[in-house]
């Protein structure tokens, strides 16, 4: 086994050192060997007689990832017809790179370039004719807003970048590429504003990316799990969004955005609790309206996290708190239900999660059916069969519905998971355990750091910032960038 491992790791390194030969014949042999031309159907080569230096030449490319007409018009035609003294002056391709290593050649081929070998030339020319297929830009479906730009990222790096640059006309906006992966070499693009971003955080992110040592990282969704600090933690430390306007607003504040060619979303680091809590629409809405939605969202946060647990705690341990009339109503509704209360709540919460998960996976045409079945069975039949009491349906619906107000997927999962912990705590020792567990959860969250940034900053520990936490200030009064990022330029707007 060890020998086998050793052997397999040897072969790529031998390619790495191999230089391009002087003879065209040998180069063609090597290329055919490297790309297994006899089996690989979309590996294409075309020999031609180059006019300007009157030598034999050969082009290699993957037909599936290049633009055929572009090769035709801008590479083959000029090579066959045009006069000139070098390749650069003959072909009309915007981006040409010269190399003499086969490892580079492989990388260029994979990224959609056409490679030109020439007789008696020990270097090759890689011309960018890539045309990877991708969706066009669609409306943001997972993070919709009523007021605000509607476009979402798509699975193309260049398109995504253009969506960002469209909103941020700044020559300091840098797009830095970092290659990761051993077998499939993919590029992660680190986007930041050079004269705002903090160098230490930038270096930390760069180091994290460089230290990833795996065969391949296909997309940002996987990248997220490679760069986070606590993989077992319930609390997310990387923000994931598909909205370019959200990404841009974070860039402006000195955050770092990570993009990859294969994902219709980006990652934003570092994050705080508030990045998960906010939605871009809060800022597009006027001051009062935006803060109203924030207040509603805070309520939803409480409801989805606590309502079931509070109900369990109060009705099991502190029933004297409930006003007598309501208490009688609850008791009457529970009269014929055989299960203990906590069991009832758990049944309903799990049922809701079931509907949710099934609804997500179900093929589109069947969608409405599950809604009817779910509502009918869980809402009505279960009550009529005395499995659960009607009040639990209200509680579970409230907690399930509220969870949708927390748009971010990561925080949504965190809340949905913690809910069960709270229910169990409340079932065990009422408010004593519930407050205790909540306090511990809160303290744990406070101790979490994302790339060195405490989770609840700037509220505590305090930093100069736009003070955009639970509520936000009027946009005109936001003077500073978030100080917890230690940006190079903290002043956002001068006081006047």
């Amino acid at each position: 086994m060890v020998r086998f491992l050793k052997k397999s790791s040897e072969s790529p390194s031998s390619i790495e050192k191999k230089k391009v030969y002087n003879s065209l014949e040998k180069n063609i042999q090597e290329m055919k060997y490297l790309f297994s031309s006899n089996r690989n159907k979309d590996f294409s080569m075309r020999s031609l007689k180059i006019k300007f230096n009157n030598k034999e030449g050969c082009l290699f490319y993957y037909s599936s990832i290049v633009d055929g007409s572009k090769i035709d018009m801008h590479v083959i035609k000029p090579l066959l017809e045009n006069e000139g003294n070098t390749v650069m002056n003959v072909v009309s391709i915007e981006n040409i790179e010269e190399t003499n290593e086969f490892s580079k050649v492989i990388q260029y081929m994979n990224s959609g370039k056409v490679i030109l070998f020439i007789e008696e030339d020990a270097s090759t020319y890689a011309m960018d004719v890539a045309d990877f297929q991708h969706r066009s830009i669609f409306k943001s479906e997972n993070e919709p807003t009523v007021k605000g730009p509607q476009d979402a990222f798509t699975e193309s790096l260049n398109t995504n970048l253009s969506l960002i640059r469209k909103q941020l006309h700044n020559n300091q906006l840098i797009n830095e590429g970092i290659q990761i992966g051993k077998r499939s070499i993919n590029e992660v693009n680190m986007i930041y504003i050079k004269d705002v971003v903090n160098n230490e955080i930038l270096e930390q992110v760069r180091e994290k990316l460089n230290n990833i040592s795996v065969d391949s990282v296909r997309n940002v969704e996987l990248l997220e799990q490679y760069i986070e600090e606590r993989p077992y933690s319930v609390i997310p430390t990387v923000l994931y969004t598909e909205r370019p306007d959200k990404a841009t607003s974070y860039l402006e504040d000195g955050f770092i955005v990570l993009l990859m060619d294969s994902s219709s979303a980006c990652l934003i680091v570092p994050v705080t609790f508030w990045s998960f809590f906010h939605s871009p629409e809060d800022r597009y809405l006027r001051f009062l309206y935006g803060n109203f939605t924030r207040a509603i969202r805070l309520l939803c946060f409480y409801l989805t996290l606590m309502i079931s647990a509070s109900y369990v705690a109060i009705s099991n341990f502190h029933s004297e708190m409930i006003p007598p009339d309501l208490l009688l109503a609850i008791t009457a509704s529970r009269e014929r239900v055989p299960f203990p209360l906590i069991f009832e709540v758990l049944i309903m919460e799990i049922a809701f999660e079931l509907i949710r998960e099934a609804g997500l996976r179900i093929p589109n045409p069947l969608g409405p059916t599950i809604g009817i079945v779910g509502a009918l069975i869980l809402g009505q039949a279960a009550v009529e069969a005395n499995i659960i009491s009607p009040i639990i349906v209200i509680i579970a619906a409230l907690s399930g519905l509220s969870s949708f107000a927390l748009a971010d997927l990561n925080i949504n999962f965190m809340v949905r998971l913690m809910r069960f912990v709270f229910i169990l705590a409340a079932g065990a020792f009422g408010m004593l355990a519930l407050t205790g567990v909540f306090l511990l959860f809160f303290m744990y969250a406070a101790s979490v750091k994302s790339f060195g940034v405490p989770f609840f900053s700037p509220m505590s520990p305090h930093f100069l910032s736009p003070e955009d936490t639970v509520f936000r200030k009027p946009v005109k009064k936001e003077l500073f960038r978030p100080g917890y990022l230690y940006p190079k330029d903290i002043q956002k707007k001068s006081k006047s």
Binding site: I322, P323, F429, T435, M443, Y444, H462
Partner: protein
């Protein structure tokens, strides 16, 4: 121990407010009312006057001897061994205060909300949560204190607001209760009501700048004094002196007394939630400080693993008193009476020695 300089004035103030200020809601009023009767709301005022100048001297000394905390300061002034000796006394005071107080709090929780649960189970749950909280370190504790302070204080203000209707002003007379001499002696004897301020000094270097620590703790001391006096005043005017001496937990009795309109008539659980937050945080802060003092004395830099044995110790010692009456009215009273002269005199002695050695120039 982490120190990123995240703690500032407000976090220190929040910790002080929670650690000292929560006295308004435990059984201390009953303890004080035994002798002073309806003049007992003046006692915190007198205690504060007794102990606060000394505390300011401590802050002054800490400022003079820069980069030192409570234990290091005493070692620098009195020499290594005497300093450590005084340190151990302070540590024992802290540990005993935690123990008696926690027993007291457990009894409150048990009596009022979980009458069927055995004390030991409640003790394990309570101190267990406190232990895991304290494990998070002083910065997280400070931040959490600040973030929770707002809601805790809002709920406390709500209690005051709702109880205003029950207040009968005439009950405050005779203003000195059982007599001015009684009040004065009790005031001095119970000066250690504010002894927690001294324990907090161990965290002197935790803030970004030491001036922030001093400012935070001084501001918070005055707010605490105001709060405690206000609440004691409300107790005396709502319950009158005869019942206050018999009511073990006036805060909880007050919350059972008040209504929020005609529909919500039993809202004590609502206040109990915030009171529990405050209580958890108090003991989290307290046990962390005590362990820190111990770690400083025996030069254990990484003292946080000691939290576990000390938490266990607190539970075990907390079990020893036969019942809450003995715990509260005999043991805790004795401890307070012993601690008072110690903390009143200690700063002056330290200051005298330092002055004598000519280190204050």
């Amino acid at each position: 121990m982490q120190n990123n300089g995240y703690l500032r004035i407000k976090e220190i103030a929040a910790m002080t407010l929670l650690l000292v200020g929560i006295k308004l809601s435990d059984s201390t009023p009953a303890l004080l009312a035994q002798k002073a009767q309806n003049g007992f709301w003046l006692i915190p005022l007198l205690s504060f006057i007794c102990i606060f100048p000394g505390f300011l001297i401590m802050l002054y000394l800490l400022k003079k001897y820069q980069d030192k905390n409570l234990i290091e300061l005493m070692e620098a002034i009195t020499g290594k061994w005497i300093g450590k000796g005084i340190g151990i006394v302070i540590f024992l005071f802290a540990l005993l205060t935690i123990t008696f107080d926690s027993r007291n709090y457990i009894e409150q929780i048990g009596l009022l909300y979980f009458p069927k649960s055995p004390t030991i189970v409640l003790f394990f749950i309570f101190i267990g949560i406190v232990f895991f909280g304290a494990k998070k370190g002083i910065e997280v504790i400070g931040e959490t204190s600040w973030l929770f302070l707002t809601v805790i204080k809002i709920s406390a203000s709500l209690v005051i607001l709702l109880s205003l209707g029950e207040v009968v002003m005439q009950r405050v007379f005779p203003i000195f209760g059982s007599g001015i001499t009684n009040i004065l002696t009790e005031g001095v004897k119970k000066a250690s009501l504010f002894a927690e301020l001294f324990f907090l000094l161990i965290a002197y270097k935790v803030t970004k700048a030491s001036s922030m620590f001093s400012k935070g703790i001084v501001i918070a001391s005055f707010i605490t004094l105001f709060e405690i006096t206000l609440f004691y005043f409300v107790y005396i005017t709502v319950f009158d002196y005869n019942s206050i001496a018999k009511i073990a937990f006036p805060f909880h009795d007050l919350t059972q007394f008040i209504n929020l309109g005609n529909f919500f008539t039993n809202i004590e659980t609502l206040f109990m939630v915030f009171w529990l937050f405050a209580a958890f945080l108090k003991f989290i802060i307290f046990i962390y400080l005590a362990t820190w003092i111990f770690g400083e004395i025996f030069a254990i830099r990484n003292f946080e693993p000691l939290l576990l044995p000390f938490s266990f110790l607190v539970i075990m010692i907390g079990q020893l008193p036969f019942n809450s009456i003995i715990n509260e009215l005999i043991l805790r009273e004795m401890l307070l009476t012993i601690m008072s002269p110690f903390f009143i005199i200690l700063p002056y002695v330290l200051w005298g020695i330092a002055w004598g050695k000519g280190e204050l120039k």
